[in-house]
């Protein structure tokens, strides 16, 4: 079958009423968490994770992925209308987006952000679709020893380039790896840190931990903010951009798509980095750089396109190799594995319906989001008026039901509550939860692959420095250095990311 036939069979999966419904739920919920400051895509995904357990793998993953890219759309709305980024990847959009809104041009800003997101997102899926199948063939040759090297490099990269203290990020990665060792040792069945308790034999429930560390702690932090948000109300008839807006945006959208797609391979914070790089590049290329900061539409179009264009690329390591490179895809991985589907080089042959269904659903989802975000923007803005006093109990109830329903285990609810408390305290001290979550998912795999590599090599550590490992190290390091050099050239630095993290 050609790629076209595969894609058509994917649409056959994605266009069933069930897939469409869950794709819509995912996109809708993604937009909501994107709009609401404080709730990001990660919290959004973990909160609905239990919902996927009753679904078949393709439908579950379609919904979760919908939340992931849906949030990239929603984030811009709050940035433009309130000057509060809905999530980290929309920080730069605040600069010119809010300025435009103040000048009464919120409509065109929202319009361009949505259209840019649509173009970036769609092209990115196209890339995912074209790159993954040939890559999967190569990936098959990647043995456990190379996977170990890749995972270690990903963790180092995350510690190095994430916003906030490097030491604190590294600490969270180590904590995640340590918590992951609780339970029966997968290879020999030896219980570790279970203290003789049968309930701990399978480790701490990932869903409970993820909802606690991410969902609950985020809600607690939001409770501290009591001010009501005043949003600029756009008039729908003003949505249509002027000719000059389109002319200014078109090149920005094109460049944003390319930047997002390339920077999407950076582990950890690709979507955030891509927006900063895009903004800097637009400013550099603009004929009127003085307009930036005073409502330049290119400053909205570029970054908003870029953050959506990263979504497809970020899926490639997950679907082609089975290694998540960012926390969002780590959640997708855990959802798939719980359903008995292992992403990796064989996903395309063994579960073509999952891969092609997902790809097709991402095309559908981007259309859904474009429709959701333009006419319904008023509805989403109104969400900001819901007092946290109402929102918080609702979300807490959903989380508790969700966590309990996974395995009808009351202990999981306690794990959620306690990890929520711990997450809150850690975040108050500036420790990020995202690296912890990623390490939690990668940890199991890292250990398993490390030991399998040694089994296969007959106990020789030299396997980690064999030809294929060294080749992969060389390629990845070169790639990262080039991207870093590009980022520096165009004025992105860690200090800017740190600043963004604080806003």
């Amino acid at each position: 079958m050609s790629a076209f036939d595969h894609l058509m069979s994917g649409f056959a999966v994605a266009l069933t009423w069930k897939s469409l419904l869950y794709c819509f739920i995912g996109c809708f919920w993604g937009t909501i968490v994107g709009v609401l400051p404080g709730l990001g895509p990660l919290a959004g995904m973990v909160l609905l994770l239990p919902l996927t357990f009753g679904l078949d793998p393709a439908t579950g993953i379609i919904m979760l992925t919908g939340i992931f890219y849906g949030a990239m759309y929603g984030g811009s709305t709050t940035s433009i209308l309130v000057r509060i980024p809905g999530e980290a990847a929309s920080v730069v959009t605040c600069i010119d987006g809010y300025e435009m809104a103040r000048q009464g041009r919120a409509g065109p800003a929202l319009m361009i952000a949505a259209v840019g997101s649509f173009i970036g997102g769609t092209v990115s899926v196209l890339g995912l679709m074209l790159v993954t199948p040939p890559l999967a063939h190569v990936m098959l040759q990647i043995g456990p020893q190379v996977e170990v090297v890749l995972m270690l490099m990903a963790m180092c990269t995350i510690a190095f380039i994430s916003g906030g203290s490097r030491l604190k990020t590294a600490a969270m990665i180590v904590l995640g790896l340590a918590v992951g060792t609780i339970g029966l040792d997968k290879l020999t069945g030896v219980p570790r840190f279970t203290f003789g308790n049968l309930g701990l034999a399978d480790g701490l429930s990932f869903t409970a931990l993820a909802i606690g560390l991410f969902g609950i702690s985020e809600i607690l932090i939001n409770l501290e903010k009591s001010e009501t948000i005043k949003a600029i109300q756009p008039k729908l008839k003003d949505l249509v951009p002027r000719w000059k807006d389109l002319k200014d945006s078109a090149p920005a959208v094109t460049r944003g798509t390319i930047i997002g797609f390339i920077f999407g391979i950076i582990p950890g914070v690709s979507h955030v980095v891509s927006t900063f790089v895009s903004y800097a590049i637009e400013k550099r290329f603009s004929k009127h750089p003085e307009e930036f900061g005073r409502g330049a539409i290119a400053g909205v179009a570029g970054p908003e396109t870029a953050n959506n264009a990263t979504t497809g690329t970020a899926m490639i390591p997950l679907l082609g190799l089975g290694i998540p490179s960012i926390p969002a895809t780590a959640i997708l991985l855990s959802a798939l594995v719980m359903k008995g589907v292992s992403p990796g080089p064989l996903l395309l042959t063994e579960h073509p319906e999952v891969f092609w269904g997902l790809v097709a659903s991402m095309y559908v989802g981007n259309v859904v989001l474009l429709i959701l975000n333009l006419p319904l923007v008023g509805l989403f803005v109104n969400l900001l008026r819901i007092p946290y006093g109402w929102l918080v109990p609702t979300i807490l109830v959903i989380s508790t039901i969700g966590v309990y329903s996974v395995s009808s285990n009351a202990a999981d609810v306690w794990i959620m509550v306690v990890s929520g408390g711990i997450g809150y305290i850690l975040r108050k001290f500036g420790y990020e939860m995202a690296p912890l979550l990623l390490a939690l998912v990668l940890g199991d795999r890292l250990e398993e692959q490390f030991r399998t590599a040694l089994t296969m090599s007959g106990g020789s550590y030299a396997t980690f420095a064999d030809y294929s490992s060294l080749l992969v190290i060389a390629v990845v390091v070169t790639l990262l250095l080039i991207l870093q050099a590009l980022a520096w050239t165009f004025g992105y630095s860690k200090s800017i990311a740190d600043e963004a993290e604080r806003t």
Binding site: G340, S405, T455
Partner: protein, 336 residues
Amino acid sequence: MRSSIRRVALAAALTAMASSGICQDEAAKSAKPKSSSSAFPDGKPVEMVTLFGAASASTATARVLADGMAKVLGVPVPIVDKPGAGGATGYVYLSTQKPDGHSTVWSSNSISTTFHSGQLPFDYKNFVHVARVTVENPALAVKADAPWKTLKELMEYAKANPDKVRVGNSGQGSQTHIASVALFSSAGAKIIPVHRTGGQATADLLAGRIEVAVQFPQAVVPHVKSGDLRVLALLSSIPDPVFPDVKSAKAQGYNIDMPLWRGIAVPKGTSKAVVAKLQDAIKKAVESPEFKDAGNKIGFTPAYQPTDAFTKMIAEDDKRTSEVIKEIKAAEAAAK
């Protein structure tokens, strides 16, 4: 504003529905309790304890069986998921329940593996094994271009080259692990078992990182069809609809018969009449066309067997499993 709140509430309802409740609702729908006087099932639901998590293939199979049994028994058969410790959590839970037929467990070889590896405080004799329901046959696969055309050639190579043949399985203590160790050691061959999860053994085999993989048919069938892999033997003598032409190891002269079996067990002390009723419901459910269809989809072979034959089979299986686990432990101790 109103509508958005309603949507949040909708999400909450969906969350609750999709996870725990749904299977019970379906079972309840398909079977309205009949009012019968004192006879089992007494109008009360018959619980089925599952061991490997709501999303596992094992539990998916249990749901199909539960639906079928509910239709025959006329009461709901809800799934009660008690995952953990390789199945031990659920077995321990069932052993604390009343032996009245309203508590059953979706059991498997795990009852022997968990006992002999020290996770379960009691063995299979603690339960009455009502009936076998399904089997899954471990298949031994090599690359299509491998030098071994028959099981015998492979075994002789492995014997002549100790600690050279890497045999992938689907995890420490899994049925594919136990069966592969049993096969090679019965011929006196020393191999390197490679424990892999989530179908990685197939990827390793395709890429040539291991020489042999012992996997359930579903994991290898697409690659056998594409001509990349070859199945040399089934480590079970039960015919497999996926590989009708592949000979069993037994037929090729190796006395190994170790399928992964699943069935229904109840606590010891459950009365004969109740066991007979459950057995009848299981038989009817397993022989239904729906069950066969589900087998093709999920990847199991319906293989009904009544109490006596089933218990005898478990006893033999348990003995072999205990021997293999002892051997694995000894090999591990020697490696240290």
